[in-house]
């Protein structure tokens, strides 16, 4: 291969595929490679054969689970928050034409040993056991305050400065109980720990508004989900990239990242051949993550434990929802980080009928990660089978501005893709040199 590319992208995870697609649309000549023979990298959805090959190489899937092809098991448990940035990118790039979405049926929160629905309508809120009568009134005032807030209208501020006052000050002003704070901070603002309380209130405000506007969008929960699993997302952006001339090569071992004397990127060696490009973008696994020796380009920031569980029933206490999220706030189980459960089923074409796939996850705090998710596992009822994965989270050590090597971040423990989009925007800015602006797409009228 004598061709020279503008950008080589390594790994077909969602972050890399969005970048690849957007760069190709921008007119860059992109070569996109992956060591696996499937799309998606760490954010892939696997069929049974692939799942067993990954976790239990010596075992074949039990016939009881049904047809291989009916499965698309996500490795990373995330949902799309309806009003978030990923939705905007999906719509603007028009990759929605390759995808079909369904709602996630419910969002639940764990409190005092019980699961309760996060209210999605005023009726549900009034009936919710999560708050007492007086607390409901206080909470109503709090939400009215948030909804009514206008930056340029001080009469809506009620003496609060979102950019100076901490969230603690806001909670105290409305006299909200600790249990309600837990609910707001963790089930709505989706914070994984309590650090936000002492910080300035603005980001929490933004997150609550994101949650409530997403909830209002389709009604049942703030989340949507692509049929056939999250792995469809990287595939659809890869197709976008290919349509704009991107070249795809799967099943390619990457032997070396070649640099010059000054450490600047030159090319990528695969199968004895070196392909040259001006820049390289890739996920941490292509830059020494998990290995020692060589140049240190990524560092571990922590670990996430994820247990993929096959169930033969919906999760008890979720009104038989075909899909849901359950948040166990850290305070409830004496932890520093929340435990999340994400469940999908055959309604989303990700498994055989009457099978439910639940992923329990949290940020690792001890040297016995599997025990840390026990409170989540115990909510599931009988577990037919379970695959536990402990994944280190890597972050790049340098910006790439000096060596033209741009490394993306691992998929974190948050429940949606907003941090993935932040990473895309961040890498884009460093690679291209300007902010990512989503051009307004032309509206296509189909005849």
């Amino acid at each position: 291969m004598d061709e020279e590319y503008d950008v080589i992208v390594l790994g077909t995870g969602l972050t890399e595929c969005i970048l690849s697609g957007l760069l190709s649309v921008e007119g860059k000549k992109v070569l996109h490679m992956d060591r696996n023979d499937y799309y998606g990298g760490e954010s892939a959805s696997l069929n049974l054969t692939q799942l067993y090959r990954k976790f239990r190489p010596t075992q074949s899937p039990p016939t009881e689970l049904g047809r291989d092809r009916d499965y698309a098991v996500d490795l990373v448990p995330k949902f799309i928050i309806a009003s978030g940035e990923l939705t905007k990118i999906l719509v603007h790039t028009d990759v929605t034409r390759y995808l079909e979405f369904k709602q996630i049926a419910g969002s639940f929160v764990y409190r005092d040993g019980k699961i309760s629905k996060v209210p999605s309508t005023e009726m549900e809120a009034v009936r919710s056991p999560l708050m007492g009568l007086f607390e409901k009134r206080r909470a109503k005032k709090f939400f009215e305050f948030l909804q009514g807030w206008k930056d340029d209208d001080p009469t809506t501020h009620q003496g609060i400065n979102l950019d100076k006052d901490s969230m603690k000050v806001v909670y105290e002003k409305f006299g909200l109980e600790p249990g309600t704070q837990d609910f707001i901070g963790h089930a709505m603002a989706l914070y994984l720990d309590d650090d936000y309380i002492t910080k300035v209130a603005r980001p929490t405000y933004d997150r609550i508004i994101l949650y409530t506007s997403s909830m209002a969008r389709y009604g049942k929960s703030p989340y949507i989900y692509p049929l056939y699993g999250l792995g469809e997302l990287p595939q659809s952006f890869a197709r976008l990239s290919a349509i704009y001339g991107g070249t795809y090569m799967l099943d390619k071992q990457i032997d070396a990242i070649v640099t010059d004397d000054e450490g600047k990127f030159v090319g990528v060696t695969s199968g004895g051949e070196t392909v040259k490009a001006k820049q390289v973008i890739g996920d941490p696994s292509y830059f020494g993550a998990g290995t020692d020796g060589g140049k240190v380009r990524v560092v571990e920031e922590g670990k996430v434990v994820r247990a993929i569980c096959f169930l033969k029933h919906p999760i008890p206490g979720t009104e038989d929802s075909d899909s849901c999220q359950i948040i166990i706030p850290q305070n409830q189980v004496n932890r520093r980080h929340d435990i999340y459960i994400a469940m999908v089923s055959s309604t989303h074409n990700v498994c055989a009928k009457d099978i439910y796939v639940a992923i329990v996850s949290t940020i690792v705090e001890t040297d016995r990660p599997e025990q840390e998710i026990a409170p989540g596992l115990s909510l599931l009822g009988p577990i037919y089978d379970k695959f536990v994965d402990i994944t280190p989270l890597y972050t790049p050590t340098s910006s790439g501005e000096n060596d033209n090597i741009f490394i993306t971040r691992s998929y974190d423990a948050t429940s949606h893709f907003e941090t993935v989009v932040e990473d895309v925007q961040d890498v884009w800015k460093r690679v291209v040199g300007s902010d990512l602006v989503l051009k307004k797409r032309e509206v296509e009228v189909q005849g």
Binding site: K88, L90, E100, K102, A125, G245
Partner: protein
């Protein structure tokens, strides 16, 4: 009452056999001698009229070059109702490649998929390397439709798409969800992201 059926059609075949050219001829009745490999030709649709009452709308997926290094995504085959597997009659190796694709389809795609084997560049019959007998025999053995076409002259192009339309099971209108097509109103059970884009940015009522 007239009915429109919608189907997803995928093209497969070795690079440069003329997949994109066939689509261009079918959809726009154009041909380009110096076509570059598929760029930007995203997602085309074309309608075939079967009779006064019935039209079939094809939602056509071209490979976008992802087949070149065996890197087609499973998404490509997903929910495909029909496939046109193309070879170049002047290149016998391209028929071998077509056989590989057909095996792949039989393995990966829906078992009810309608497959048409298509020998393209019929205008270059003087340089023929693949005989009609050989191709026809193979197609019969595998239960495939078969024809020869020229995207350049247009010969056989509309005919093959019409023949496919006639062979597809016309059961329920638009019930066969064609892999992510924006079907007519109500055809989708899921949520429509495009619809919400219009209301984005407007203040939302709090539901709490």
């Amino acid at each position: 009452m007239s009915k429109q059926y919608q189907f997803k059609l995928v093209l497969l075949g070795e690079s440069a056999v003329g997949k994109s050219s066939l689509v261009l001829r079918f959809v726009k009745d154009q041909f380009d001698d110096y076509r570059e490999s598929t760029i930007g030709a995203a997602f085309l649709t074309q309608t075939v009229t079967l009779d006064d009452q019935t039209t079939v709308k094809f939602e056509i997926w071209d490979t976008a070059g992802q087949e070149r290094y065996k890197s087609l995504a499973p998404m490509y085959y997903r929910n495909a109702n029909c496939a046109v597997v193309v070879y170049d009659i002047t290149q016998s190796a391209s028929l071998e490649k077509a056989r590989t694709w057909i095996r792949e389809l039989q393995r990966q795609a829906d078992p009810s998929i309608v497959i048409a084997l298509c020998g393209n560049k019929l205008d270059l019959a003087a340089r023929r390397q693949v005989s009609q007998e050989e191709a026809k025999k193979y197609a019969d053995e595998e239960g495939l439709m078969w024809t020869e076409t020229s995207a350049k002259t247009g010969e056989g192009v509309t005919e093959i798409f019409t023949a496919i339309a006639q062979k597809l099971p016309l059961t329920a209108p638009s019930a066969t969800r064609a892999g992510g097509a924006r079907a007519g109103p109500g055809a989708r059970a899921g949520v429509d992201l495009n619809k919400q884009a219009a209301s984005a940015g407007q203040p939302e009522a709090c539901n709490c």
